[in-house]
């Protein structure tokens, strides 16, 4: 039974291109590490990690898309667990990889910041996957990235965008921001677990 479960997980992971996704998450972490060697001003120091966090979230969201369509839905009870496990595992991997990349480097915000931002952005991506489909799930996290970068900018140039719904602009230990990110992440997980990514007739999205 355990061997079967492992086999099922491996096949599910392969169908979602998880090996490629994990490799890309590692690449993002390496990219963050490389850029942290540079000398950035105050703007860059806070906004830079956010870009890599958003990239990770977009990658995780895109993996939610299924290549099989309806036949996969008309199966047993394991699919929701597989979806949930995939999303949580990748989010954890991304957070861990980025935190590891920042070890010993001047990474603004630290692990709490990374975890909050990656989780929240991933939640947005998973919600987009449910609505728009896996291949278009990147639109949410990356559009939010633009808002968040501007939010960080207003920390230096008031009036600051102080809403906790733009949690990257809040301090790392801010409870409101963490709560909002957690709520969005939970909502995304619930949506992707129960409904999965949207499938469109004829494939994925417009164009």
């Amino acid at each position: 039974m355990t061997a079967v479960a492992v086999r099922l997980v491996c096949l599910h992971a392969a169908s979602r291109r998880l090996p490629a996704a994990v490799a890309l998450l590692a690449l993002c972490a390496a990219g963050l590490r490389g850029t942290l060697y540079g000398h950035w001003d105050d703007y860059g120091a806070l906004q830079l990690p956010l870009i890599f966090e958003a990239a990770c979230a977009a990658i995780i969201a895109v993996t939610a898309g299924s290549p099989f369509g309806e036949p996969e839905r008309a199966t047993g009870r394991w699919l929701p667990y597989l979806r949930l496990g995939t999303a949580v595992t990748l989010t954890g991997l991304a957070s861990g990889a980025l935190a590891a990349a920042g070890t010993g480097m001047p990474l603004a915000g630290g692990f709490p910041d990374i975890l909050r931002n990656v989780a929240g952005l991933t939640g947005i991506g998973l919600l987009c996957a449910t609505v728009l489909g896996g291949p278009l799930a990147w639109t949410g996290p990356l559009a939010y990235l633009v808002l968040a970068v501007y939010g960080l900018y207003t920390d230096w140039h008031p009036p600051a965008l102080s809403t906790p719904w733009i949690w990257p602009a809040r301090p790392p230990h801010d409870v409101g921001g963490a709560l909002c990110a957690a709520v969005v992440f939970a909502a995304g997980l619930a949506a992707i677990t129960l409904r999965g990514a949207r499938e469109r007739p004829g494939g994925d999205g417009p164009g």
Binding site: R200, P201, G202, G203, P206, G207
Partner: protein, 247 residues
């Protein structure tokens, strides 16, 4: 002759999909039979100028498609329906056919009429403005046929064209094939022997990248024996030829 093939091969890595095929075809309907993995689709893709042959000689419509200019001329006179038809779900039926008419560099002024004709010929005139995402699988197949015939091709290559069509539509499709075959060379790749039997004047049977039979459907039927498997005479001939080729 519209199609002249001599010792054509195609290799994908270590796998030889087409292992030396020679045939000639003029106007008419030409069937290409064979089991899965026989090399039919690969042969058709080479004739569609989508992939080049590894070795051998290929002349289409009197031209060598290896050179850019002649290849472009061939493509203007070519119609191709692949086995797996992709499509843009947001396009309407008419837009999709128009798109391919334009890609085939049809004279622009003739495109609207040609599109309307092609759509009517596949019995989708009433659905011309329907989005492709709203169509059934069989209708999508007919859209694929429409784009293949929109430019009144001199060489028409159809890979599993009747997949998903209902029996009535299959009958109509065979009538269309015979009509098209009066002016053009139509090559139909299929493993539905009844399609070949009723519509084709010549048939080739492929197995493991080679042609193991070339002749008329009647000659193929004659190769069948009492011991051959199959529900119809043509099927029995088909299985007999395959068995002999593999023996």
């Amino acid at each position: 002759m519209n199609v002249e093939i001599s010792d054509l091969t195609r290799r994908f890595g270590r796998h030889q999909a087409v292992a030396g095929v020679s045939l000639q075809a003029g106007p008419g309907v030409f069937g290409l039979l064979g089991p899965n993995g026989a090399g039919k689709t690969t042969l058709l893709r080479m004739m569609a100028t989508v992939i080049p042959p590894t070795t051998g000689h290929l002349r289409l419509l009197g031209r060598d498609p290896g050179a850019y200019g002649p290849r472009r001329e061939v493509r203007r006179r070519l119609g191709y329906l692949p086995q797996n038809l992709g499509y843009y779900p947001g396009f309407t039926v008419a837009e999709f056919v128009e798109y391919f008419a334009l890609l085939k560099e049809m004279p622009a002024a003739r495109v609207p009429a040609a599109v309307a004709t092609a759509v009517e010929r596949v019995d989708l005139g009433s659905r011309a403005k329907a989005k492709l995402r709203t169509l059934s699988g069989g209708m999508l197949r007919r859209v694929g046929i429409a784009q293949a015939i929109v430019n009144e091709p001199e060489l028409l290559l159809l890979d599993e064209p009747t997949a998903g069509l209902d029996p009535e539509q299959r009958v109509n499709f065979r009538v269309l094939l015979r009509d098209l075959g009066q002016r053009a060379t139509v090559i139909v790749s299929t493993h539905l022997v009844e399609d070949v039997g009723t519509a084709c004047s010549q048939v080739a049977l492929m197995d493991q990248g080679r042609i193991v039979f070339y002749g008329t459907p009647a000659e193929l039927t004659a190769r069948g024996t009492e011991q051959s498997t199959g529900d119809a005479p043509l099927e029995r001939g088909y299985t007999a030829v395959l068995a002999a080729a593999r023996a």
